[in-house]
């Protein structure tokens, strides 16, 4: 589950000719991954929005939202369309992993363990303990590597979420089909509870924890654009993931990772898109919180 070496080809000459204030950028996400994440953002926001409209259909603001979007028929179609996108990126990502293993002949061991693996390691537990110490001022900030433990949680949360919400969603989408296979009728009720609550969990988690961890924490505030641009400034990279930096220096692969600065126009578009997504997400979580605390039973 390594993504490092798929970096865009670097051009040292160009780098040397860059502007007087020299800012070096390091590649973090490849284009494929970034595209999938855009798909995740778009589909997830759509699913969350249209899903919450039904979950909280008794509450005025969601009814108004439904009307703005064109009624339950439109939100229903949007929800299903976004579901298709979700299944698409899920599939595309599985294809990406297969490609890595089969086509690029990466050893499975490398994928499941090691520095760049997405799979939680014993080291992640150590880092969590160190982090706790750091939170309480009992130690320095841990030297995080390529993937921190919360990032790994995010990653598997999507895996888990898509599987659970996706499957229960399919039952709700095609209840006649699933019951004709022998699934009892009451399971549709169970599916709707799971679908709904798991979605609430996902929504609540992404729009608060994920948002904070990645964007709103003071050192990244207000937004980390790395997921759109794919690259991070070297200085920031050193601060943020010192262990990966040291590893790269050691292996001498840092040079390979250097990429040109993102074009300002692209950065602007990325910012606008990113802020919009953040805004929508925050608004939605705010509405959900109000609904949960004051109006929903």
């Amino acid at each position: 589950m390594d993504q490092t070496n798929d970096s865009v080809e670097t051009n040292k000459l160009e780098e040397e000719n860059t502007a007087p204030v020299k800012k070096v950028y390091i590649q973090r996400f490849d284009a494929y991954t970034r595209l999938l994440h855009v798909m995740v953002i778009v589909s997830f926001l759509t699913l969350a929005l249209t899903g919450m409209i039904i979950k909280f259909s008794g509450i005025g603001i969601f009814q108004t939202l439904s009307k703005i979007l064109g009624g339950y028929q439109v939100t229903g179609i949007l929800h299903r369309m976004a579901a298709v996108v979700t299944f698409a990126y899920f599939g595309l990502h599985l294809f990406y992993l297969i490609k890595k293993i089969k086509l690029e002949k990466r050893p499975l061991k490398y994928m499941l363990s090691g520095e760049n693996s997405m799979v939680p390691q014993l080291r992640d537990l150590t880092e969590f303990v160190q982090t706790m110490k750091w939170f309480f001022g009992r130690g320095p900030r841990p030297k995080y590597g390529r993937w921190t433990y919360w990032e790994k949680f995010d990653y598997f949360a999507v895996f888990w979420g898509v599987a659970i919400i996706g499957f229960s969603g399919l039952i709700l989408w095609f209840p006649e089909f699933f019951t004709s296979l022998g699934l009892p009728g009451w399971f549709i009720n169970v599916a709707s509870i799971i679908h709904s609550d798991e979605a609430l969990l996902a929504t609540g988690f992404i729009f608060t924890v994920h948002f904070f961890n990645t964007h709103f924490r003071p050192d990244k505030f207000p937004m980390d654009t790395v997921i759109f641009t794919g690259c991070v400034e070297l200085e920031e990279f050193k601060e943020d993931r010192p262990r990966q930096y040291e590893e790269l220096l050691k292996s001498g692969k840092l040079e390979e990772m250097i990429v040109e600065a993102p074009r300002p126009k692209f950065l602007r578009i990325a910012r606008i898109f990113g802020f919009s997504a953040l805004f929508i997400g925050l608004s939605l979580v705010l509405m959900i919180m109000i609904a949960m605390l004051f109006l929903y039973n």
Binding site: I53, I54, K55, S57, G58, Q63, S66, K67, G71, Y72, Q73, T75, M132, W134, F135, F136, G137, R141, W150, L172, P175, E176, F177, T179, S180, G182, L183, P184, G185, W186, I188, N189, V190, S192, I193, I194, D197, E198, L200, L201, G204, F205, T208, V209, F212, N213, R217, P218, D219
Partner: protein, 748 residues
């Protein structure tokens, strides 16, 4: 004793023998039928039939018993002179006869009794009239032989012969002309009732007063040719009555010139009337003639309370023939009134003019002209409590009204000719005279109750129907035409709290609401006269507040009221679980208006209607409604979806049945089909979906309950963990940033 009897017998025999011997002597000559003598130049037969004489009642007498002073040997039998006339009075009391008209007119004893063949008086009496007419040969007297009296006389029944009228006995016949009194006394002997009735009648009284033209018995019945009224030749036969009466009561007769009565052309009118038509053209002997209405002997003027044609008695008179007329007139007349208070209702003749009786109403009564002559004036008014009230009648409007063929007095029945003018204080028109049923309903209605209790603004008949310009409800221009009804009712029922209406109606904008309702739109926009207007639900005359159990819109009756149009739905509803016929409960069952608002009723496909129904169901079925909203159908429906399944889509709307009823849409056999209406691939497992499930009910839905709590624990723990994680991170990160900034400042 024996000796005495023997003596008497012998002596009588001797006398007889002696008499017969003497008479035989006379007959020796007089039995010759050629024996004649000359008297005053005339040849007179002196023949006496011994046979006749011997049969006569005088046969035992000797000739000289009657022929006194005659000399048998002389010829003629007195010396040179005629024998004396026979004087019957020598033996018979002729005092009566001497006073009689026969005596005066030289009708002698012999004229009737003959000279020698004198019969027993009983024989003559038996012959009676036949005997009289041997002399009285004039036509009038001869007519007697065609009379009913003669017929009965012949049949041996008690019937008057000549002498019974013309004198008590044959000898006391005094005169042929009788005074009226005498005449009546004669008839009275047998025809007591008829004569007494006649005497108290118009005719009889005129006769008593000595009016020359007054009729007596014989005017109608003849003097001698008195015939049975059943005899087609009789003047008093039914077919002949009109011409009999018409002899006097037709235009141009002396009596018609002398007495001015309101009726003209009586006979002509009668001939053209339905009665006359029946009699003359169709030969219906049952058709009414003069005497059927006016009676034959007891003819009285219509002012007389006992008259058959007095207003009070008219119904009785007409119902002699029109026995079932009350049944026929039920729509216009309350049957009881015919007998009990005939003055309250118009008499037959108010509509069916006498003599002109047709199947149709006649144009205008003569009285109308009288009424109109005053009431057509614009400035006619009366003053009540200092208020001027116009009495002007819009004649033009009246002539366009549905009542145009009615006479004024048909409605204004309390007109009294003792008043001047006769219509003085005749009061309000009582429409119940004709529209009994409607007025009865009105009196029971809230309108009527308020009006009768003296409520000033309560509507009376005329407030909705107008007064003289009343038009048929079928007339498009009528204020009671269907499309105009809402406007009419809105005159008072505008808003709640209106001064006009003291009603406690909860509907504050009745008319505005009605206009937007499906009924109102149908009527006012689509112009459908079949849609419900105010009166279709509230009735036209028996309006009652919904709280009244008798009201057409009460909880008990509303369904049936709606059923007048929506019968198909009512039939379904009747058999549903909500019907009082099916479910016996003390709780209030829903009725039509529970789901369909009364005045704001809308089509069920109007957005919002179905959602509103759920609130209605929820009033009673609170639990299932709440849990319905916990499931997909309910949640989507809250977004304003009419398409998603609502209560009625699964349970049915009007034909709701409990699920254990095999006919229920949700019974084991039907549920798959029911779900198929939205889910075409519905199957037996699919219908196991819990449409009213809740994860809050541990007992009923344990799986859902535990699923929910498992999910909740997952959520809470995840959020708690990362929430805490974030809360710890934030201050540390802020502190870190501050430190870095200071570092930067320091290095700079």
């Amino acid at each position: 004793m024996k000796k005495f009897v023997l003596f008497t017998f012998i002596s009588v025999s001797l006398i007889v023998l002696d008499v017969s011997a003497q008479n035989q002597e006379c007959l020796d000559c007089h039995s010759d039928n050629t024996l004649v003598t000359e008297r005053k130049g005339k040849e007179v037969s002196l023949y006496i039939s011994s046979e006749h004489f011997n049969k006569s009642i005088h046969s035992e007498l000797s000739c000289n018993d009657c022929h006194e002073d005659f000399e048998p040997d002389e010829l003629p039998h007195r010396k040179g002179e005629m024998i004396y006339k026979v004087e019957c009075s020598n033996c018979h009391d002729t005092e009566d006869y001497e006073k009689s008209i026969h005596n005066k007119k030289n009708v002698t004893c012999f004229s009737c009794h003959s000279k020698h063949s004198i019969q027993k008086s009983s024989t003559l009496i038996k012959q009676g009239p036949d005997f009289c007419i041997t002399c009285h040969k004039d036509q009038a007297v001869k007519g007697y032989t065609q009379s009913i009296h003669y017929e009965k006389f012949k049949a041996g029944e008690k019937a008057p012969s000549c002498v019974d009228c013309h004198g008590n006995s044959a000898h006391s016949i005094t005169k042929s002309k009788f005074s009226e009194g005498e005449l009546h006394d004669l008839c009275l002997d047998c025809h007591e009732n008829a004569v007494k009735n006649f005497e108290s009648s118009l005719h009889g009284k005129a006769l008593t007063k000595g009016k020359a033209l007054a009729p007596n018995c014989i005017t109608c019945h003849n003097s001698h040719k008195i015939e049975s009224s059943k005899n087609p030749n009789s003047k008093t036969y039914k077919m002949n009555i009109p011409s009999l009466c018409g002899d006097c009561h037709k235009d141009g007769t002396k009596i018609s010139e002398l007495k001015s009565i309101s009726q003209r052309h009586i006979l002509e009118d009668y001939s053209e009337s339905i009665h006359g038509d029946g009699l003359f053209k169709r030969g219906l002997i049952v058709s009414a003639v003069c005497t059927d209405c006016h009676f034959s002997h007891n003819i009285l003027p219509h002012e007389d309370p006992n008259s058959s044609i007095n207003r009070k008695n008219i119904p009785k008179t007409c119902t002699q023939c029109h026995v079932q007329i009350e049944k026929v007139h039920i729509k216009v007349i309350d049957g009881k009134l015919w007998e009990q208070q005939p003055n309250r209702i118009p008499a037959c003749i108010d509509c069916h003019q006498p003599h002109k009786v047709r199947r149709v109403f006649y144009d205008t009564n003569f009285t109308d002209k009288l009424c109109i002559s005053c009431h057509e004036k614009e400035n006619i008014f009366k003053t009540v409590n200092g208020k001027k009230i116009s009495l002007h009648v819009d004649i033009k409007g009246f002539n366009n009204s549905v009542h145009k063929d009615n006479s004024c007095v048909k409605c204004h029945t309390n007109v009294n000719d003792k008043n001047n003018p006769i219509c003085l204080n005749s009061g309000k028109v009582d429409c119940s005279s004709c529209h009994a049923e409607h007025v009865d309903n009105y009196n029971s209605s809230i309108h009527g109750t308020l009006f009768n209790s003296g409520k000033e603004n309560a509507p009376y008949c005329t407030d909705c129907h107008g007064t003289h310009n009343t038009q048929s409800k079928k007339d498009v221009t009528s204020i009671t035409f269907r499309t105009n009804i809402p406007k009419l009712c809105a005159k008072c029922h505008k808003h709640e709290g209106d001064k006009n209406v003291s009603s406690s109606s909860s509907d504050s904008e009745i008319m505005k609401n009605y206009a937007t309702s499906v009924h109102g739109k149908g009527l006012l926009e689509s112009g459908l006269t079949v849609t419900a207007t105010c009166i279709d639900c509230h009735t036209s005359h028996l309006e009652l507040p919904a709280s009244d159990p008798l009201s057409s819109v009460s909880d008990q009756n509303i369904a049936e009221t709606c059923a007048t149009c929506h019968l198909g739905i009512y039939e379904k509803f009747r058999h549903s679980v909500h019907s009082a016929e099916v479910t016996k409960t003390d709780k209030k069952l829903p009725n039509c208006s529970s789901c369909h608002e009364s005045h704001t009723i809308v089509r069920i496909d109007v957005p919002g209607f179905k959602e509103q129904i759920m609130n209605q169901c929820g009033k009673c079925h609170k639990d299932v409604t709440e849990t319905y909203f916990d499931t997909f159908h309910g949640k989507v429906s809250k977004l304003g979806s009419g398409a998603v399944a609502k209560c009625q889509d699964c349970h049915g709307s009007h034909d709701i049945l409990p699920t254990y009823n095999p006919a229920s849409k949700l019974s084991r056999n039907n549920i798959v089909e029911t779900c198929k209406s939205c889910h075409p691939n519905s199957n037996k497992m699919f219908v196991g979906y819990l449409t009213h499930a809740t994860h809050h009910d541990k007992e009923k839905y344990p799986i859902l309950f535990y699923t929910f709590w498992a999910m909740t624990i997952l959520l809470v723990s995840t959020f708690s963990f990362f929430g805490l994680h974030t809360l710890l991170w934030l201050p540390r990160a802020l502190a870190e940033k501050k430190k870095q900034k200071r570092k930067k400042h320091g290095s700079n």
